[in-house]
């Protein structure tokens, strides 16, 4: 038992252990990274840039994205790197802070629906019987609903807020991971090592946690990336239609503001108002797509069978 970590003798040991751990993590990461193709590497770097941009938004921008800091529709210049919008707010700040919005929504939706849906699927697959049948019916119906039109209608009624947007997106994206996790749980359940574990007296929850969930995790991770890019698209689409949270400047919201400006296409304003969010969204989605394709390729032998529906 190490009780006093702060004693000098122990400090050296703990720091050594920490260094070892960091080393292992970094070699782990670098081996995964080296498996990626060039596209995948570009994707990872791109995402890293956007994440850094979002994380250090207050450092790399001079202005608040919500404050009027210049003249209306200033062209890009030394004071405002990307110019200002019609209210005189700095576009570069909006882009940096908007990255937070897109990433938060993408990740939140992906993790909630990916792992939540996955857990539901695994449970249903493991329990089987009526629960499983019932869940399959629900999944079938959820997947055949026209998701985007319904999202529009529901968010029009619920009113615009970040939580509502996340809720709606989760509502329409949990079904796919649930279905895949279920089919995998069904397949894994039949293995003899599960029967063996059960015969040794393992509780269902123990089997799920120790044997089934770890097997499904890699596939869920790929799905999480897919879902996050879908969520980002859907959020941008909803915001573009004017259904985003008006108090937060996401990239979709910027597109909405810019295209809503009456004579945007007849003036040069679109060059610094409309292009940056458009460009950033496309870059973000392409990066995510590259990563997801590479992950799929790396996990291929497993995924090809299990994703086949």
């Amino acid at each position: 038992m190490i009780k006093n970590i702060n004693v000098p003798g122990y400090a050296g040991i703990t720091s050594y252990i920490q260094a070892l751990n960091i080393c292992r993590v970094s070699t782990n990461l670098s081996t995964t990274f080296s498996k990626f193709s060039t596209e995948g590497k570009i994707g990872v770097l791109g995402i890293l840039c956007i994440v850094l941009m979002a994380a250090f938004a207050p450092v790399i921008t001079h202005y608040s994205p919500q404050k009027i800091t210049g003249d209306s529709l200033e062209a890009p210049g030394p004071a405002h790197i990307l110019g200002t919008d019609e209210l005189g707010m700095d576009i570069w700040s909006q882009i940096c802070y908007g990255a937070r919005m897109s990433l938060t929504i993408g990740l939140a939706v992906a993790f909630i629906s990916g792992f939540g849906g996955g857990a539901i699927g695994v449970l249903a697959g493991y329990i089987g019987g009526h629960v499983d049948q019932g869940l399959m019916r629900i999944i079938d119906v959820t997947m055949s609903l026209p998701s985007f039109p319904l999202m529009i209608v529901i968010s029009a009624f619920l009113g615009p807020s970040i939580l509502n947007v996340i809720f709606i997106l989760v509502l329409f994206s949990w079904a796919k991971p649930a279905r895949i996790a279920r089919s995998q749980a069904l397949a894994i359940k039949k293995n003899s090592y599960i029967t063996a574990a059960r015969n040794y007296g393992a509780r269902p929850f123990y089997i799920l946690r120790k044997h089934i969930f770890p097997e499904i995790l890699p596939v869920l991770f790929v799905l999480v990336i897919d879902i996050s890019s879908h969520a980002i698209i859907a959020e941008a689409g909803l915001a573009f239609l004017g259904l985003g949270d008006p108090t937060s400047k996401s990239w979709g919201m910027m597109l909405n503001n810019a295209t809503g400006f009456r004579s945007i296409y007849f003036t040069p304003y679109w060059q610094w108002w409309l292009l940056p969010p458009l460009f950033m969204l496309i870059v973000l989605l392409l990066c995510l797509a590259f990563i997801s394709r590479d992950m799929e390729r790396i996990l291929d032998p497993k995924l090809k069978i299990k994703k086949g529906f």
């Binding site: 119906v141 055949s144 029009a156 458009l278």
Partner: protein
């Protein structure tokens, strides 16, 4: 198989029912009642305050004082009669508004489906023939990268490049307003000119799916024994590809085309908004902005029903094309 088809139809019916229920309950679950929305939010405008008597009259008139299941029954029977309620903004029946705008949407959706299917099949066949060569690999990479850009962002890019920068195509609308046409040809040209970019956007958005499907299914089919048999019978390459390989490889493409129409009905809302194309998508956007709830619900219903009809049609066509299914 019969069981499978029954469950397919059953699923469609359930889906339609779920949409109807959502449509019915969403506005009724919101706080307040419809009469409070008649108040204006601009300070200068008049706020209509109803007396309690008037309110009760309207509640009764619209049947809102009756139990929910009765309301639901009335809602369904009204729908059966084609009565979707009245639009708040347009001040006419929702069905009239939809009928006015639906043809434009049908025009670009069906047009782009047709074009993307043909182009996808042609490109996919070309790719499958040149498998593992440079041209195939380049095409694959390009197409896959394209597919990742959602249609409305692609539409914005096309709009900026071709309409704003190059000024080749109109910025908005489906026809030139107040135009006098000297003949039918000019009228058709005007419509095509306006529809070009929206159709191109939707086409590009779904091209990759058709392309990949055709390519993969052709590659699978060409390894089959009957292709070798056809070749050994001395049939020309052309006949082998078109009559033996393509015919069988296209089955999944047909299914996909049908389901794609469904997916596209979602994307078309955004694409029409980008190009201000006066279809139901654009109407939905303005209804959302104006909070015209009856119209929103009506459009959702029309979109949902058209998706279900497409799925049903695909099922029918598929069993015609592939006799094995309908046994």
């Amino acid at each position: 198989m019969a069981n499978d088809r029954n469950s397919f139809i059953f699923r469609l019916v359930i889906t339609l029912f779920v949409i109807l229920v959502i449509n019915f309950f969403l506005p009724r679950m919101m706080p307040g009642d419809p009469f409070s929305t008649t108040s204006a939010d601009m300070p200068g405008e008049d706020i209509i305050v109803m007396t309690e008597e008037q309110r009760l009259y309207y509640l009764e008139y619209y049947g809102l004082d009756r139990p929910l299941h009765e309301q639901f029954y009335t809602y369904i029977t009204n729908l059966m009669k084609g009565d979707l309620g009245r639009s708040i903004f347009y001040r006419k029946p929702v069905s009239d508004v939809i009928i006015l705008h639906l043809p434009w949407t049908m025009f670009i959706v069906l047009g782009s489906t047709l074009i993307s299917t043909i182009a996808g099949v042609v490109l996919g066949t070309f790719s499958a023939k040149n498998r593992k060569k440079g041209s195939d690999r380049m095409m694959m990479t390009g197409m896959i990268a394209f597919a990742e850009i959602p249609s409305f962002l692609l539409g914005l890019v096309l709009l900026l490049v071709f309409s704003v920068h190059l000024r080749l195509f109109p910025l908005a609308g489906a026809i030139t307003p107040f135009a006098h046409y000297s003949g039918l040809a000019e009228h058709v040209w005007d419509i095509l000119h306006h529809a070009f970019l929206p159709v191109l956007t939707l086409t590009l958005a779904q091209l990759t799916g058709v392309y990949l499907l055709t390519r993969n299914s052709l590659i699978t089919v060409t390894t089959k024994d009957y292709i070798r048999t056809a070749r050994s019978k001395g049939l020309g390459e052309r006949t082998v590809w078109t009559r033996h390989a393509l015919r069988n490889a296209l089955l999944p493409v047909v299914t996909r085309t049908g389901f794609m129409i469904g997916i596209m009905m979602g994307g078309v809302v955004l694409v029409e908004s980008v190009f201000s194309y006066p279809g139901i998508g654009m109407t939905l956007r303005s209804a959302v902005i104006g909070r015209d709830y009856p119209l929103i619900q009506g459009i959702l219903l029309v979109i949902a029903v058209s998706i279900l009809i497409c799925n049903l049609l695909v099922d029918k066509i598929y069993s015609k094309l592939d006799p094995r299914v309908s046994i």
